[in-house]
Symmetry: C2
Subunit: 559 residues, 2 copies
């Protein structure tokens, strides 16, 4: 068997993560060996009414289960590991990750009763993992969570590098710089194909160092005369560390609030990623026992999530802490697209209860920097790797396109740049790359316990119901002669107030009766067409009167 | 009667526009004379499912109709004039506005069949209007629509100034600078109370000149080798003028697409605010008859609105124009908060069809500047007016607060700054200001033809329905013995696919039957409690099985 026969080509594609932010899942296949990178979830788009989370459709992997050598995890963010509890139920394969990533994953798997059945392998930037004909090594990157890595997959066709999420932080909070030397070495040896993070590909310049945020936070601590409440992403251990440090420096105690924040702090401390002096932490119940200027509170809710700790504090509905006039509240985060209004609402409410609020809009010295590299970071990565082929990943189409242009600007020929959609397979063989057969993929919607049981029809109905509500029309007919025995009764939900619309509903009732009589005269005996007639006549009347189109649900009972 | 008796105090409040963006409506009352400034609408918040627009509750004005001397309009934006067609139905009072503003208003009133019954008075920056004991004069401001004015109300208690929306544009596109001298004069005479635009109070520096956008647009025209498609706010006549100018300069023809854009261009040309050389405009039907490099298209859709011209073009579903690879598309606007995702989706789709897309994220030289003054503009206004009392208006609470701080920074004592909510009445009498009795106000929701008939219960139902759908449970009982004659039938909409959930629904059916039998045994004869039992039992079972809470609607028929 030669390397270039049809079985042994190299195929690279995404099951999630392209033209979207979230549910990252990339697949590299060489012959009969499949390696998966990441397994994320995505939060639902606005139009996915009632949906909790979205994961990739992994049909391809399930069908090729015997070939899947493992899932490599680049870091512990939800959009990279959040799909595991669902996906490992369909696919029992080993997972590989660094210590902190694995700590966060294990917590998830324990909750999903998947911990024992899942083979877990710890890796670090010196590991070499054999995955069939593919060898995986790892290089450390800087990102908004510690222990993030990029992956180099050595395949018989050449090396494939996946950066994970990254930026270059020259003064990282934990002193661990990115493995620039190792990246240079990988680049030196030759990179056949680079997959690189495009999240900030539209942003000029370099992304700032996390340390800048620490300075901004410390300045606010210095000026504060009362409690300081900091809300940030639960997983940003670097930032949490800087809040811990500022708390120490200004002789305060620290209370941690919000389930996910408590969880990350515990895992971070346990695994040695977060250094908290003894006696610094206090129980939230003890906040009110200390003078205000002795207390720091760290909480979730930087995205204005309605049920989060910060939102409840702002509305005075948190059980343990109430915000008092003069408290300092720092939102050390920018809104994720789509959350702008929720964040603004929380900020308004915090001002209203008298807090001094510092957030991205009103604070000159940044209380947030991104964890993703800007254009200059991305060009540095491209120059280190000097790839033959380039696939921009992690991001909406416009970001992938912008990243493609950056690659061109540093000398990657435009025909070697593949701006893909999920499922687009790039096949590389004999040093040539081309698009192969498209792989089936898509969104699997999770609503409660249901995985994939909500599809387009259900969503369309929810959308309809959400706009103008529903009118249920019930009639009971006689089996013998088709005469109306009871009804029509019309019940409305989400359409109009019944009390204020009595006339409208009376007239609606008359129209249904009329329609049924007409159908009876025309000897319409099919229920389906009777229902359609009712729906049409009533729909027309209601639209005419109200310019609304509620869902109309005729129900005919026969006794 | 002396001036300081209880009837003749000066009262200032908002019926809309505070702690929100939109539905601006401010009221100044002296004795028995009420003057209203603006009459805007607001687009619904996300949670206002199915609502089209929101207007202020004007109960106060309706109750005091005989005292309302008129509505003064500062400019022609929807958030300042959009409420008129609804409000003038409840309130027949004269309206006052500049030529362009009135042109836009008249178009609305004609559509609403209110044109003839409404007394309309044209004003300009030299007008003096007697409104009972109040005299109104106007000063020209710069804003993203021409013919914008601020208002000075001379009352026996002192002068009240309302800025309208404004910035200071030192190089305005139409050559009409703001009336800085007149503002200085007003300030010189003494301003008792200033109401000033807070939209950009969190933004440092000065807001750029509209002319900068013209330069950016011209640069893009120069580079374009095919069609140029510019999307912007329909009402931004300055920007439209600059697109017209660039079109002339580069020997193109201009097609205007989108109902609201066509309307504004017509009104703008007719009233002399938009200067378009003869033969420049072409019919959209003729776009394809000209070579690509001879065509400019101006369209609506800069906010990613699903039904707008630009969105339809991006998706290839516009009847008259298809975007071709290499076309230049300029989104000369930034997303209004809440529209970020929709705009991003349109941009992605435009890239996908091969357009060169220029928009705020990827374009260094700005293709948009705000029409609202930043902190330095606002301080300049404050310094020109040197008000004794200050009420920041137009904006969310956080912006009003920020504006309050700016006022403090230029020397207004903090106790003279009133950061208000809608309905908070500031009463000024004898040179002293204090909060008076709160005025009733609020949101009136408009859904189709219904004004105010959708309230909290209907919205709550829509919310519920949108999350997990509805299950309708129908049973027919015998009047004689209460026996089940037909059913229970369960119909689901927006909950689960029936085909994939047969077992679940069968079991649901069994539970309803069981519950009814139990109730029969316990001689529950009240339908209300029977329904509650069904709802409880079924709800519990479904939540247990699916972690969803659909609306459950039991219907019992009796024959």
């Amino acid at each position: 068997m030669t390397k270039n026969n049809s079985r042994s080509k190299l195929t690279i594609f995404a099951l999630g993560g392209l033209d979207e932010i979230g549910k990252n899942m990339y697949v590299v296949r060489y012959g009969d060996d499949i390696v998966v990178i990441d397994s994320g979830l995505m939060f639902p788009e606005e139009e996915m009414l009632g949906i909790d989370v979205v994961i990739p459709d992994v049909t391809y992997l399930v069908e090729n289960q015997d070939k899947v050598r493992g899932i490599l995890l680049t870091h512990g963010h939800e959009d990279h590991i959040g799909g595991l509890p669902y996906i490992l139920k369909q696919l029992n394969v080993p997972i590989f990750g660094t210590k902190l990533t694995m700590g966060l994953v294990e917590h998830k798997l324990r909750e999903a009763h998947l911990l024992n059945q899942t083979k877990r392998v710890l890796v670090n930037n010196r590991s070499e993992i054999k995955l069939g004909s593919i060898k995986a090594t790892f290089f450390r990157t800087n990102h908004s969570i510690p222990d993030s890595v990029g992956v180099c997959l050595e395949t018989p066709e050449g090396n494939v590098v996946h950066t994970g999420d990254f930026k270059f932080d020259m003064t990282p909070v934990n002193g661990k710089e990115a493995d620039i030397h190792k990246m240079a070495e990988i680049g030196q040896k030759g990179v056949l194909c680079l997959l690189s993070d495009s999240t900030n590909a539209e942003r000029p310049g370099f992304t700032g160092s996390e340390r800048e945020v620490g300075e901004a936070i410390e300045n606010l601590f210095r000026k504060s005369k009362q409690r300081v409440i900091v809300a940030t992403f639960a997983s940003n251990i670097h930032r949490i560390q800087q809040v811990v440090d500022a708390t120490c420096k200004y002789n305060r105690k620290l209370a941690v609030i919000g389930r996910s924040m408590v969880n990350v702090v515990n895992i971070g401390m346990e695994l040695g990623y977060l250094h908290v002096p003894p006696d610094l932490l206090i129980d939230p119940d003890d906040i009110n026992r200390l003078p205000a200027h002795k207390v720091t509170v760290m909480s979730t809710g930087s995205q204005g999530e309605p049920m989060s700790a910060l939102t409840r504090m702002a509305h005075g509905s948190h059980r343990k802490i109430e915000i008092l006039p003069g408290d300092t509240v720092i939102l050390a985060a920018t809104p994720i697209p789509g959350n702008e209004k929720a964040v603004a609402r929380t900020v308004n409410q915090l001002f209203r209860v008298g807090a001094d609020v510092f957030y991205s809009n009103n604070t000159q010295q940044g209380v947030h920097v991104s964890g993703h590299g800007s254009q200059e970071d991305l060009k540095l990565m491209l120059n280190l790797m000097k790839p033959q082929f380039f696939i921009p990943i992690h991001g909406e189409h416009r970001m992938l396109r912008a990243h493609g242009q950056l690659a061109e600007s540093i000398g990657v020929p435009s025909e070697n740049i593949f701006v893909c959609d999920n499922g687009d397979a790039v096949e590389i063989s004999g040093g040539k790359a081309r698009y192969g057969t498209k792989i089936t993929t898509g969104n699997v919607l999770i609503d409660g316990l249901g995985v994939g049981d909500v599809g387009n029809i259900v969503l369309r109905d929810r959308k309809l119901l959400s706009q103008d509500g529903i009118l249920v029309v019930v009639v009971t007919l006689s089996k013998n002669n088709g005469k109306v025995l009871s009804g029509p009764d019309i019940i409305s939900r989400g359409f109009v107030y019944v009390r204020e619309s009595e006339k409208l509903l009376e007239e609606a009732n008359r129209i249904v009766t009329q329609t049924m009589e007409k159908c009876a005269n025309e000897r319409v005996s099919e229920w389906a067409s009777l229902k359609t007639s009712i729906r049409d006549a009533l729909g027309r009347y209601l639209y005419d009167q109200t310019r609304r189109r509620p869902m109309i649900l005729p129900i005919i009972m026969e006794v």
